[in-house]
Each structure stands twice: as C-alpha cells, then as structure tokens.
Amino acid sequence: MPYVIASPCIADYSCVEVCPVNCISPGPEEPGFGRAEQMYIDPTRCIDCAACVEVCPVNAIFDRNRLPERWQRYAQINAEYFQQRGKPGHA
C-alpha cells in the first residue's frame, strides 16, 4: 500500500530529497512549493520503501493501511493533489 502524508506535515521536504522515485511533490524546484503547506505522495508511483517515513521530522507519513482514523481523508487528499495537477509527479 502506498504511503500517505497527513495533517502534521510542515512542508519540510526532507521526504522529497530522499524519495528514490520522485513521487513526492511539490519539491523545492516545483511551482507551488513556496505556498505549499504540506507535501503529497503520488499513490500511483509510490514504491512503499518507507524512506520518507524515516526522515520525516514530524511523523506525518503513514502506510495507508495504518493511517490514524482522524486523518483517513488524507489518502484522498494526496491522490487528488496529483489528479488535479493533471500530470503525474515530477522532479
């Protein structure tokens, strides 16, 4: 199951830097980074490596199956970010 970034995210972007498949957006080089209050994981490209979980300073990233109840909606929020952008995540 893909990983999901939930409410505690502070857009610290350590996750973007370690993601081996560049599926976390918006990174520092992308438009929208300056205003982004959180990062998002593209569920269609996530390879479940959990590298991002290790580096997150605020414990905001969860396996979708283990997403705390109060943040369930974030699975959809992550997916919708990429759908609305109209293109898959890019570096």
């Binding site: 409410s7 505690p8 502070i10 857009a11 610290d12 972007y13 990174g27 520092p28 080089e29 992308e30 980074f33 300056g34 205003r35 982004a36 209050e37 300073p57 605020v58 414990n59």
Partner: protein, 730 residues
C-alpha cells in the same frame, strides 16, 4: 535516528521564533542538537510545529554566525577582540558621552526576538530607566503598539488584549491576518489552521477579509478589501449595529460606559462612503454586521494587516468596540482574557510602566507607548541637535535598516552615532554599522519562557525551560552583556527604583531570580511553600514540556482584569474623534501612483532574520511582487519581468509574479529582503528593501501610535530597464 549514540538525550523545549511557541523535542548528543521535532504532548501546540522551528538549529552552527566580540575598523571591516577589551572600551566611550550629554543621550532598541528574552528586555529597559533616557525603541512600534495604546485606553493597561476564543466561537471574522502562514499573532493557538477549520466543521462560520486571497482566505469565505480601509469597514459595521439597534445593551451596561460617545463617533459614517473606500458592497457590509451581532458568539480578529495603515489605532479601537457592543467581550466564543503564570499586567502597573502619552518625543512630538518611543522617529532624534539628542545606541536583536521606514535615512542617522553597539548573531545590514557587534546566546542556548505571549494563549499553560545546549563560541546572554556594561558605568539596570536602590546597596539579583520571585508570588506560584502545588522555576525546569493551567481561558472575569478604577471598559475616547475626522477627510486617490502596495508573510520567512538557513531558502526562493494580470497587462508586464516599484518616497526593483490572488489595484510584496552584511546566503538571496517605499515623516504615521504606514502606500509599477539588475535601491 542512525546517529544515536550512548550520550544521546532528548530534551523538551519550545520554539522561540514566533508567538505560537510550539512545543519541541530536541535530540541532543555531545551538546549538539541532532534534531528538533514537535512535542505531541505540549499543552498548546499538541504536536504542531513548522519548518522554521525545526530548521532553526542550523543557526547555532551557522558559519556566518558572530561568535566573538567584533570591533569595527576604520575601513568598515571587523576585528575580533576579547570581551574585556570590548566591554571596557564601550564603557569608557559611554562614560564620555554621559559626561558630555547626560544619560538622556543614551538609547536602546529591542527587536522582535526579545519577546522571548525576558532577561534582555528587563535589563535593557532598566538601563534606560536608570539613565533617565526616553530613547527606548521597540520593533513593536512598527506593528503592535496600536494594541498597547488601545489596551491602556479601553482597559487601563497596555498589555490587556482580549483574544479570539477560536476553540468555542460560532463566528470568526479575520481582517488583515493570515494565521495559516503566520501561525497566529497576539493570540497563541496550537495548530491554528486546524482550530479554524474546526469552526466550520462544527457548523460555525469564518470570514476572511484581506486585499489578498491569502492561504487562510482560501480555506474560508473570502471578502477582498482595499488596503488601509479597515477602519471604514468596522466603523460602517458599528453604524449599522447602532442604526438597527443591534447593540447588546445588557452586556454593555454591565461592562462599559461611553456607548453614546461611540455612537457619535461613527454617526458621520455612511455605507456608501464605506463601500467606495473598502470596495465591499454596502449591502454586504450591512449583512456582515447583522450576522456578527446575531451570532450566538462571535469574535472579530485583526492583526498585522490592519496595524500597518495610517489609522491603525483607530482601527484596533473600533475592532475591540465591535466585540464589546455585540456582547462578545469576556464570554465563551467571543474575545476572552488569557491567564498567564505571571501577571505581566500587574507587574507593569506596579512599576508604573504601563501607560500612554505621559510624554512625547523630543523632535516629532509623538506620544510615548509603554514608556517607549516609535522607531520611525529615531533618525531625527540622532540628527537634531539639542538637549536629549541621541548619541549612543544599544541594539538587541534589532535590524532597523530593514524593519523601519526609510532605510537610507535610518542608515545615515546610525552612522552619525558616537557609539553604536549591536547584540546580534549576524553581521546584518544594521549591525555592520555598529562600532561593536557582541555575540548573544540564541534561544536554544539560554533559559526561555514565553514571556510575551503567555497571557494570550487559548489554552493557558506555564512553561519555563533551561538552556537546551551550551552557548557556541564566546556567545553570552544579552542581559549579562548589558549588565557588564552597566557595572562599568556604575548603573543598576532595573526599571524599578526600589531595585536600583537595593542594587546600590549590594543586592543585585539576576533577572532569572527576580522572575522566579514574581512567578512564585504570582497567580499560580507556590508562595514559597504556602501553596505546595504551585509553580516555581525549579518545578517548571523539572517539567520542561509545560504544565497546563486550564483547559480554556476563564470567562466572567472582566471586572478582575480591568485596571481602570471604576472596573468598566472606557468606550468614550475623545482622541478618536479627530482621527475619525482625519479618516473622513482623507482622499486615497493619487493618479500618479495608482496602485496600493501591501506587505505579506511567507511560510519560510520570519521578519528579517531567517534568510540564512539553507533549508528555508531551498528552491531558489526570490522575493516576488504579486500583481493582478489585469493590472499587469496595460503595463506590458509578464511573469518573471524585473519591475520598478516607485512611491513618493523611494523606488525598488523586484521580480513580478502575475497572480489573481491580489485584488485589482493592489500589489503585494514580502518584507524583510534585500540583505547586506556578512550573512552570505541572505545577501545572495538578493531582493529589495520594501521599506524604501515608506515614509518616516510623522505626517504619514498613524498619529496615535507613531507606527509608520507600511500598507496601502501609493505606488506605480513599470517594467525596469534591462540595463540594471533587480533589487537596486534608488
């Protein structure tokens, strides 16, 4: 983490960058901070923190940080010297200045970070009190003294500031504030974004009013308003409430007097004029007023946006008045009084420190606020000869060349000082002008309490933490530095006469000892054993994660909290009359300068001091002017173009960014850019000093607070000629 070793420990603390004061946990090994992360158990922030706090530990070991006393050389470079050399020379020069011009020629400035540095604040204030000097300046005189004026007038004490009860309110109106990005100011609410979203989730309503569709506005109902027309909006809402008799008379009779005077004040306001000034439809203003008055509970909250205009004190007064006449003061869901572990209001009152307009500044004749002078007046106090002329200045965490209006005038005045000493971790555009830069400890390196914000928290709590790590290099606490200078000129730096006398007799306790006494004798104190469950420094140091005092602020406490002898809010304020007349007489039409500029805050900036942190500057951040596509098109301005912004006071060049987030006729630019000095990354980020556009002339100020006009400045924009680079200052 992988770097853990046998000596790794975890320490709780709180972030001392902004008023949110988020609880943090530091992973420390060998006296180095390996990681900062949010503390999920903190009574207020409950696991929230932001990238600024998490990233701040970089500053401790920043290669650009000043770590030993620096003495400026004739060529402008700096040479490291020993503490004794610096302190002895400063004291000798200071003695000479005092001998020639008296203690009143010596002044000080404290910047925003001193709000988390009670020891520096009290010691510096004490130094100038002991010297009999009125030259005490604060960054508060840029954007918050209007609160302190209204606190004194309405409630009898500068520090009284009822906070919006966001956790319980049915209706929140936010005017000129962007809590999603700022994380709250003049109110401390952990994860304020979620707290605001909870209002709508429980069926309440949030309306955000701002010239820019801010990150906060995007989440809620949004009304665009023309810059610096806030007083018009609130006055018109009050007019509707009076005309339609929607006043909560029972509450007003119980809590206040002077209602008729307020009614008279807004009598000349028409909805038509308010519509043309604000750009908000008259019917919408009337409906907003009705809805606000009808809501079971409502809170009107404004912040920097409404504090940077020409009528910021009138605006703050009207905003409090609106909360009061609708019965929302001191009731759940309205605006309420915080509960601090130390009663700062009482301390100020006891020390005769709270006050307004007890004297006026020497040159401009601007009223004092809390015993301080507005920073915008400083340049003329240096350059105008006569008794009381400012000759020596001590600056603590201050960057006035960037934060006060008319930077060139400020810089040129600072260069004329006989002695300028900056206590600063960096060689900044301001400190580079100092004769000495002295390295202070930073908040992770000294004990900290949320001394400024503890009275404004939505969840009252107590916290006072010891230093997390040892100071880097030769950095010393600001208060120690000031005290060492005072000892050399035989001065006891205390705002209280009694303490100065005791000091002369040999008892000279540290600020921490005095604060501990205030805590122990205070509303939550242990009374030195009489109240065993009460607080002391020792107890708080043993509970560094903070101790919750109450679940929510108390209500029904108005009479106890007011400092007016009659225990009523004083709505009648004769000085507001002329302000209202001035507002009505003002024309904002200026065909030569047709646009209005406002400042804005970004997620990874805080005032002017965090632009040297790599993590916060990632992505090639640049300072960009937000301009509406409809305003840009006739000027042939496209995304990424270099543009010149010109006002009647100055001109700067920046990069344009077309966005409909700003309303037509308004442009928005982040403040705090255009650095110079030794912080290399900040300097390399370029950008321009917003305040070049602002005037330091008193005629442009908010007259009652002395705050400069930084929002709503009339400007014109043009494409910059390609022969010059961006960010050149005209």
């Amino acid at each position: 983490m992988n770097t853990e070793s046998a000596t790794t420990v975890e320490r709780k603390l709180f972030c001392s960058i902004c008023e949110a004061c988020c609880g943090l946990i530091a992973t420390v090994a060998d006296d180095k901070i390996l990681q900062l992360r949010p503390d999920p158990e903190h009574p207020s922030s409950r696991g929230f923190a932001c990238s600024k706090g998490i990233g701040f530990s970089y500053v401790l070991s920043d290669p650009d940080r000043v770590l030993e006393p620096l003495q400026r050389q004739p060529d402008g470079s700096f040479k490291p010297v020993s503490w004794d050399t610096a302190l002895d020379d400063i004291a000798q020069r200071l003695r000479g200045i005092i001998d020639r011009h008296g203690g009143e020629a010596v002044g000080g400035y404290i910047g925003n970070p001193v709000g988390w540095n009670y020891a520096a604040q009290t010691t510096l204030m004490g130094m100038f009190a002991a010297l009999g000097s009125k030259h005490f300046y604060t960054s508060g005189s840029v954007d918050v003294n209007n609160y302190f004026v209204v606190g004194q007038l309405l409630y009898g004490n500068n520090m009284i500031n009822p906070i919006p009860d966001i956790h319980r309110t049915d209706f929140l109106v936010v005017l000129g504030a962007n809590p999603v990005v700022s994380h709250g100011s003049m109110v401390t609410i952990g994860n304020i974004r979620e707290a605001m979203l909870d209002i709508t989730a429980r069926g309440g309503r949030v309306v955000v009013i701002d010239p820019r569709r801010t990150e906060t506005a995007e989440l809620f109902e949004y009304l665009p308003i023309r810059p610096d027309s806030d007083a018009w909006l609130i006055a018109a809402m009050l007019k509707v409430i009076f005309d339609e008799d929607r006043v909560d008379h029972a509450a007003v009779v119980r809590q206040a007097h002077g209602l008729d005077s307020l009614r008279e004040l807004v009598a000349g306001v028409t909805l038509e004029r308010a519509q043309s000034e604000t750009g908000i439809d008259a019917a919408q203003i009337a409906q907003l007023a009705r809805d606000f008055a009808a809501a079971p509970s409502a809170a009107f909250y404004g912040r920097c946006g409404f504090s940077l205009g020409q009528f910021s004190t009138l605006t703050k007064y009207l905003s409090d008045a609106l909360n009061i006449v609708t019965g929302n003061l001191d009731r759940p869901g309205g605006v309420v009084f915080g509960h601090a572990m130390i009663d700062g209001e009482k301390m100020l009152a006891d020390g005769n420190l709270s006050g307004y307009d007890r004297w006026r500044t020497r040159v401009d004749g601007v009223p004092e606020v809390l015993g301080s002078s507005p920073i915008a007046c400083l340049p003329r106090e240096v350059t105008t000869p006569g008794r009381g002329q400012l000759h020596a200045l001590f600056i603590c965490s201050g960057n006035m060349v960037t934060s006060s209006p008319s930077p060139d005038e400020m810089e040129s005045a600072l260069r004329q000082l006989d002695l300028m000493v900056s206590l600063d971790p960096y060689v900044t555009e301001t400190s580079r002008l100092a004769h000495y830069i002295l390295p202070p400890t930073l908040w992770l390196e000294r004990d900290v309490m949320p001394s400024f914000s503890m009275g404004y928290t939505a969840v009252p709590y107590a916290q006072w933490i010891p230093a997390t790590v040892k100071p880097a290099g030769q950095a010393r606490d600001d208060w120690w530095i000031v005290d060492q200078i005072c000892r050399r000129i035989a001065v006891v730096p205390s705002p209280l006469k009694s303490m100065r006398l005791l000091g002369k007799l040999g008892w000279r306790p540290s600020p921490a000892t005095l604060m501990d006494i205030a805590l122990r004798l205070g509303p939550e104190g242990d009374l030195f054993g009489l109240r065993p469950r009460g607080l002391s420094r020792k107890k708080l140091f043993a509970n560094p994660g903070g101790i919750k005092l109450m679940d929510q602020p108390p209500t029904g406490v108005l009479a106890r909290r007011l400092h007016h002898a009659d225990k009523r809010v004083h709505l009648a304020q004769p000085i507001m009359g002329p302000e209202m007349q001035r507002l009505i007489a003002r024309s904002t039409i200026d065909p030569e300068y047709p646009l209005r500029i406002i400042s804005l805050r970004e997620l990874r900036s805080h005032n002017s001091w965090l632009h040297n942190i790599p993590k916060l500057m990632a992505g090639g951040r640049v300072q960009r002017l937000r301009i509406h596509p409809d305003d840009a098109a006739p000027l042939a301005i496209e995304n990424g173009d270099e543009v010149e912004i010109a006002s009647r006071h100055g001109a700067i060049r920046v990069t344009a960014w077309l966005s409909d987030e700003v309303m037509r006729g308004t442009v928005a630019l982040p403040q705090g850019w255009g650095h110079r000095g030794g912080w290399k990354r900040a300097v390399a980020a370029r950008g321009a000093n917003y305040n070049v556009l602002a005037s330091s002339r008193p005629s442009e100020f908010d007259r009652l607070s002395g705050q400069p006009r930084l929002n709503g400045i009339a400007v014109r924009i043009s494409r910059a000629r390609s022969d010059a680079g961006a960010d050149a200052v005209a």
